[in-house]
Subunit: 570 residues, 2 copies
């Protein structure tokens, strides 16, 4: 039984490619087969559903198809039943690749009939099983946490669910099971994991979904090293079993500061070099005012050596400069190193010894291009970080077969939020500060480092975690530093503060974007490919047309009403 | 590392029972241990979290504890660190059993520290793994379906989620993944399963939760027998591996009519007998008017033989009669069979031959009690069904160690809903009718049987499923019969009707209440015991106090406002 993939008529004989999830087989009906089956086969179109009975036989010599797993045989059909018909298709599953994504999402069931979809969701299933097996063997329990929970407006925006039983009150869908997994540690479970559905009502820039699946885990009586080691072993098992790829353990570590200083990003892609070098010390007294002036004002000059890019045209160099400016730099200084000397608009403005020192510091060789940005540290690093990625693309430096993992550690605990005019947790307010930085918490809060770690694969943040605060006094101090009044803290997190009072063990954990991990492992473009029923950037399901209006009775029962529409945005 | 379960001081020596999830060990500190560890141990109270280092040694002869797995050893402690303190506890985890459930739910992390909780959630974890292994080996893919989906107000009440991006529109949380799993079959996946979170905003009578977990599966190209066989093998594997209990396959079958006729229930408990017998044919011309009159008006007389209940006092018989009346019967006729003859208020009103025929039909023996209800068939069967359960309890007929499964089949497809004044689907409107009953669909719709099946364990409905409709024309006919205008059907289910147009295979499935299955397997009283963070009957989480009010900005962003409160119910 299966779907008609293709029908061909050849010399009065009907050939059907019949497909099920296991593959395709050729079904043959000749006019002398007998009336009814042949008649029915004659009415069959693409994606009809058939039940067929017949003799499997070797194909006649010369008609074998070596491209096909079943290319040496065919089914000489004696019975054929049409289980269901199919209308003319908006697109054929086999040709879905080129079709507009909106159309594919509207007819997702046709899109999912592609061979590739079958592969993707088989891999997703197997990946989850491998992870479950690994964690089960390590003594983790998979436990479910509530979807209908409490709104704690920290971080992203919550999806709300009005309560019918409690007028004027709302549940929130979880942004992550953070507090519940910490409560499970306080409850003594020691090792928990979950494939948790998480919800964030954010504007969906980039490749985000309003609901996504997170592999979430937490352990008691551990430090950073334990979590990281477990994570590495987990990923090694997954890559080995799913892709037959052997990862090299342990993964390298960079502190946040090192990552920013060398790659201009807290999720650096280490599949290629182009590291940044700080040349401020050489240029502090440069004749060239752009450099010296910036450094005097507390800024830096940082550069990248681009091997083999001395041949870049003026046009390319202008493009790179425009990009740098667009990203926030004042300009981009370039030096082309050739056998016959150095070319740069700045040669005239600088001492030859200065240029020599610069080239030596950058380890420049003939054929290289040197690029520099002079600016405040953050701007210089971010701009060169983006340039670095741009150059890797242009020079095709990235080996797509490589999986390069790295841990980023020692993130700042807090950052100043200009909009809210207050300090905010970089990760979340339950992250433990580094013990040695505790004395700075009130005096220089932005210098306090967190016991947080992100894991980055090929320049994509795959997951992140931290050692949590397990003592009430410290948790209250952190709430205070981020501007939560004691009463507010009590209202929002009182139950959690109380839980810390009853024997909370030291604990920590990590969470991975499971969709994103699969996307990277399967080398796909978007996480929509690994989700059976994804939503669009406007948070719409094109298949079911959700969200949709509801009947007034439903709203009345929930004690809410819609506000009069202001501006129609659709 | 672990929690202090108990502390005893004995002759200056401190004994601590230190607990982690693996068990308890005795930690000993004598004053000569050295200052700091002993001092610290002195300040320790129940549920403090400690790190301890020391020598594991055999306990002194005579002090062993044979009740304890580690009762022969103890830890002579040289180092002790207090990782966290604990306030005086609202209740001790070890004594939680007798504590008010509201208090236990508020401090759920203490309640979960019970040894039994650890057992329950280990079993839950293992059960899920056994099921996943079994289904994976059978070629099923575990696939995720959306939580933010479309409201289709059929069946229970939806939880709604206002959309921020689409003012005035709402998502609904799924009552089950019904349509998505059918779409996955249309997409060609053939075998799907999921542990799916489901949501129903109902008044929580009995043992229900607003969110619960369903083991949901669906197959293509199958009939009832295939689904039932797979289910039986799955349950057999689960009971074998989790409980070491061997189930006898195949499970017996009863049609809905047989179940109602013999047990007065569509989820009969077959761990005991007390089957109903129809004696209408004997009593049609009875002198006793209650019997004859009822039968003449289209009613029936049905009875139960209760072996060994001839000794029931008049008081008990009066109680049973009151119950029968409360459940809707006009009365309860009883006959006590003794060696010396028959006792009954009705003896005087009936011919001796009639009574003899009755006893013969009921296979009555001396020592039995015969009970009869004369009424319309439905009333008589329901009342005797309830009496049957009541009698089994009173006579202690139920073997709690037994697992008795049964399939109930051939449910009616439709039933008349008095409130809505229209026909409604008994299961859901996607259930296929029996082919042979199709001609009755418009003329005698209530006589049409469904290709639906429930699985019942010990009188509890464990799961249910059906073969689905896979042809658009039939689906539209069913929508018509339940009073959905074509336009309304199009608005609500248009996307699904369209999907049926593009090669939908024959398919069917089943879904189990996973929480309820575990509750029964672990012999627990309520499903709250198998859910880490359950809600109360009023759909409240006592731990987090969800639901809760939110700030006005959150509602404005969602384009809704609360209606003014009418009556405060709390």
């Amino acid at each position: 039984m299966g779907w008609v993939q293709k029908r061909r008529d050849h010399g009065g004989v009907i050939f059907l490619d019949l497909r099920d999830r296991s593959g395709v087989v050729q079904v043959v009906l000749s006019p002398d087969t007998g009336g009814l089956p042949f008649q029915r086969a004659n009415s069959v179109r693409a994606e009809f559903v058939l039940a067929v009975r017949g003799q499997v036989r070797r194909r006649p010599p010369g008609t074998e198809n070596p491209q096909m797993a079943t290319g040496e045989v065919e089914v000489a059909t004696s019975e054929l039943e049409i289980l269901n018909t199919a209308r003319a298709l908006p697109f054929h599953p086999g040709d879905a690749a080129g079709v507009d994504e909106a159309l594919r999402l509207r007819y997702r069931y046709l899109d999912l009939r592609r061979q590739e979809s079958w592969h993707i969701f088989t891999m997703r299933h197997r990946a989850a099983n491998i992870i479950r097996d690994f964690l089960s063997k390590k003594g983790f329990l998979e436990m479910e946490t509530p979807m209908l929970t409490r709104s704690t407006p920290e971080g992203a925006r919550d999806y709300l669910v009005p309560s019918r039983v409690h007028p004027g009150e709302f549940f929130a869908l979880p942004q992550s099971p953070q507090l519940f997994k910490q409560i499970l540690m306080i409850a003594g479970f020691e090792r928990y994991f979950q494939f948790a559905r998480c919800f964030r009502d954010e504007d969906l820039r980039a490749d985000r979904q309003p609901e996504f699946t997170q592999l979430d885990l937490e352990m008691s009586f551990v430090d950073e090293h334990d979590i990281q080691q477990l994570t590495e072993e987990l990923l090694a098992a997954l890559f080995q079993e799913l892709l037959d790829v052997e990862l090299t353990l342990p993964f390298p570590h960079l502190t946040y500061q090192e990552a920013m200083g060398t790659y201009g990003s807290d999720r650096p892609d280490l599949r290629f070099g182009l590291e940044m070098v700080d040349v401020s010390s050489i240029l502090a007294d440069s004749k060239c005012r752009v450099f010296a002036g910036t450094i005097k004002k507390g800024g830096v000059v940082k550069g990248i050596r681009v091997p083999g890019a001395a041949g870049f045209s003026r046009k390319i160099l202008d493009e790179l400069t425009s990009m740098a400016v667009e990203w926030g730099a004042h300009g981009l200084a370039w030096f082309i190193l050739e056998d016959k000397g150095v070319r740069s608009p700045l040669v005239k403005l600088m001492e030859p010894e200065e240029i020599d020192a610069l080239i030596t510091k950058m380890e420049g060789k003939s054929g290289d291009l040197l690029l520099f940005v002079a600016d405040q540290r953050q701007v210089a690093e971010e701009v060169l970080g983006k340039l670095r990625l741009e150059l890797a693309g242009r020079l095709d430096l990235i080996d797509n077969k490589k999986y390069t993992f790295i841990w980023i550690t020692d993130f700042p605990l807090l950052e100043y939020d200009e909009n809210e005019q207050r300090l905010e947790a970089v990760h979340h307010p339950f992250t433990s500060p580094l013990n040695e930085d505790l004395p700075l918490l009130e005096s220089q809060p932005e210098r306090v480092r967190a016991r947080a770690y992100d894991i980055v694969l090929n320049g994509v943040e795959l997951g992140g975690g931290s050692i949590r605060i397990h003592r009430r006094d410290l948790q209250e101090r952190i709430f205070g530093v981020i501007g939560l009044e004691p009463q507010e803290a009590q209202e929002k997190f009182g139950f959690f503060l109380e839980a810390l009072d009853y024997g909370a063990p030291p604990h920590g954990g990590i969470a991975f974007g499971f969709d994103r991990l699969l996307m990277l492992m399967l080398d796909l473009e978007t996480i929509r490919d690994v989700i059976p029923f994804p939503k669009t950037q406007r948070a719409t399901c094109l298949l079911t047309s959700a969200p949709a209006p509801v009947i007034p009775k439903q709203l009345r029962e929930l004690h809410i009403q819609c506000l009069p529409a202001k501006i129609k945005q659709d």
